[in-house]
Symmetry: C2
Subunit: 427 residues, 2 copies
């Protein structure tokens, strides 16, 4: 990738990153008690500053309306005092989570008496590049602080005023507690160049996490020279096996598709074993029709969809690879488990794949052979989530294989260090 | 980075990678017993084919001599029958190591009855880009097979004939056992373009590991769009604290610098607390002089070096950042522990840093504040090594923070998958 970045933006971002590195060294030495107390102070500061944040958010919303931002984006951007309070409460919850830093992952005493142990330590400086979702600003700052990392935040420009207000409140609160405010940094200027400068600040930034749509993530993944964790694109399948129970299949397909359509763990594709089609498709299609889902189906699916009154259109090759994030689903009848496995392996984005089956052998083959962050048997795809998995927090869902795969929480924001203690050993 | 790759090379590499992906799926399903038996077959095949490999190696050596390759590179390239046998034995050792695949890393039963577990699975297709060291070819193939990964090897062109012979023997042996030979692939043609095509085969290759000198690693790290694990550059320091025992300090400095100079865990820099200088530097310099080390030192170091008869030259700023990989060491007297910590943090490559001290507080500060893959107290830097750490094998030493840090063995060649089993749960 050949990308030109305005030199002054590069230098501004480098300056922020250098300040963040200094703060990161200090953060790495804080005790859990100090970090938790700071998180509670941040939460209180947000509560106290809610009015200021909401005013800034109104500016963003006004600008967004003037610029014709779609309703769902405006909704994600909007903060009222209740939402600010919810975001502050999330910080309090992070304070209650265990501190990953200092955890001894493994260790042993070697034959020569050397004692070695692998200990979790903070990453250092973590960059976040995301869309206009102000709650991500606070979540990332909180998870960063808890895991001992300084963060450099680059949120969508549509949330510029809100992010500036939030980060100003958070930095003031850090200072109040005697913590270097450069632990939380916002790249408020420089537009896309600032994001590019962040992802190429190799040596100054230890990790970049993109969060957002496919094109944002693709840009970061291909242009970044800083290590990246790819997150969140989910073309999730539900495969209904020959032996699937009708009620369970109907509930899981419906929930996976319609519980929340704009999220990465929503189902985008339905596969049904031909032997189960006649039994399971009438109730499944009735439920999808009732929820307003458009079925992008093959000819067999067309019959069931139309009989149930569901909106139908012929499935295209492109549909098979599309993350709709809407009330649409691609749907095909398959000959057998092998055909389902082959289809999923070809089109999976490696996020979440589910089988509904009563057949133990089919479940074992599915969980073994499908290569994805999460493989589910008889459960909704919506469960692939840090909160649902009991992590208490989530910074994103990794769809890559390096470092973290699936829901990422506090431990995934750390690295390790080998500590070796001897009494003069040489080789 | 704007890089042009010959389109036919890109397509050739993509074809290899697609074949490797097919093999990887098959490998992922092999049991440990099948993989271990295959490793033993590979080892036997190498023993049986030793003559063929040595002949090919002679071609490479002849070409290398004609082209004026330096002696140390020729030495790393050379294989006689004993060395082939050693490489085969290494495969037998890998067969004896535990299989990381299938290990349950963590798991729980959620409140709603869902059983979740995080299981180690192979990465898939792993690319290795390395210099003209034929043993790496076999090591990488063996570790790849054991961890269930297909490998695509791109070794230095100076070892082209040797690598072709080795991989031919290994692939034949796989076929003999009924294993898809595309589990082990060599990019024999296409020169640097082949390496570039490998590191940009995103979606086909899951991970690229560069092994070699700083410039090779830098190229891969900045140009790759496939996830990379950065390995091996080590600007390792030994800091001799005020309280260090004289004998221990002398032994550790000498061993760290001179035990083997061409390796990444050799010491390249010596820092001595000014209060210890007069006591520890005379014997340290005597030992370094005896080993033929050139001291790149400050003025105080000059005095001790010259008194002991060690070769001396004034230390430059560049020396502070140089991985000599030779009988050279940069050396400075520092005022105190803080100065040592600051110097190391500025110049460390994040590989291995050691302190020699009898002071518990100094040791604790050093291990806590230094940000490196390994921090050692009273031990030679040479211990940062997969073999020494008891891993039984090593694919490289990671100096990055993502995924793996420090010596990498079999578990580091795996990723994880969440397996979720329910009985119809929906949200």
């Amino acid at each position: 990738m050949s990308v030109t970045i305005a030199p002054d933006v590069t230098e501004q971002v480098a300056e922020v990153a250098r300040a963040a590195r200094v703060a990161a060294r200090e953060l790495a030495l804080l005790t859990r008690a100090e970090k938790d107390a700071a998180l509670l102070t941040l939460a209180d500061a947000l509560d106290a500053g809610a009015q200021q944040v909401v005013s800034a958010n109104e500016e963003d919303l006004q600008r967004g309306q003037d610029q014709g931002l779609p309703g769902n984006l405006l909704d994600r951007l909007a903060l009222d005092e209740d939402r600010v309070r919810a975001v502050a409460d999330a910080l309090r919850q992070v304070a209650g989570l265990p501190d990953p830093v200092g955890e001894v992952v493994r260790g042993s005493t070697l034959a020569n008496g050397l004692q070695i142990r692998q200990v979790r330590v903070p990453m250092g400086v973590v960059g976040m590049i995301y869309e206009a979702r102000p709650n991500v600003t606070v979540d990332a700052a909180g998870l960063g602080l808890k895991s001992g990392n300084a963060v450099i935040l680059r949120g969508g420009s549509a949330a510029a005023s809100t992010n500036a207000a939030l980060v100003s409140v958070l930095r003031d609160a850090l200072e109040e507690r005697g913590i270097n405010p450069d632990a939380i940094n916002l790249l408020a200027e420089g537009g896309r160049d600032a994001a590019r400068a962040l992802m190429t600040a190799r040596g100054l930034v230890d990790l970049v996490i993109p969060r957002g749509g496919a094109s944002l993530i693709q840009t970061v993944v291909t242009e970044s020279t800083v290590p990246v964790i790819e997150t969140g694109v989910g073309n999730c399948h539900v495969y209904v096996d020959a032996s699937a129970g009708t009620e369970m299949a109907t509930a899981i397909v419906t929930n996976s598709k319609t519980h929340r359509t704009s999220v990465c763990n929503a189902a985008e594709s339905l596969l049904v074993h031909r032997e189960a089609a006649q039994r399971v498709l009438p109730p499944i299609m009735r439920e999808l029709a009732a929820a307003g889902v458009t079925v992008h189906g093959d000819e067999q699916m067309q019959r069931y969809a139309e009989a149930a009154g569901a909106a139908y259109q012929p499935v295209t090759d492109e549909d098979d690879d599309t993350e709709f994030l809407s009330l649409d689903i691609s749907a095909r009848v398959v000959d057998d488990l092998d055909a389902a496995l082959a289809h999923i392996q070809e089109h999976s984005s490696g996020h979440t794949e589910a089988i509904v089956t009563d057949d133990r052998a089919a479940a074992r083959r599915f969980t073994t052979e499908i290569d994805a962050a999460a493989v589910l048997v008889n459960a909704s795809t919506r469960f692939t989530d840090g909160g649902e998995f009991g992590f208490g927090a989530e910074i994103g869902i990794s769809t890559q294989k390096l470092h973290a795969r699936g829901p990422m929480a506090l431990p995934e924001l750390t690295t390790t260090k080998w500590v070796v203690e001897g009494d003069g050993q040489v080789r």
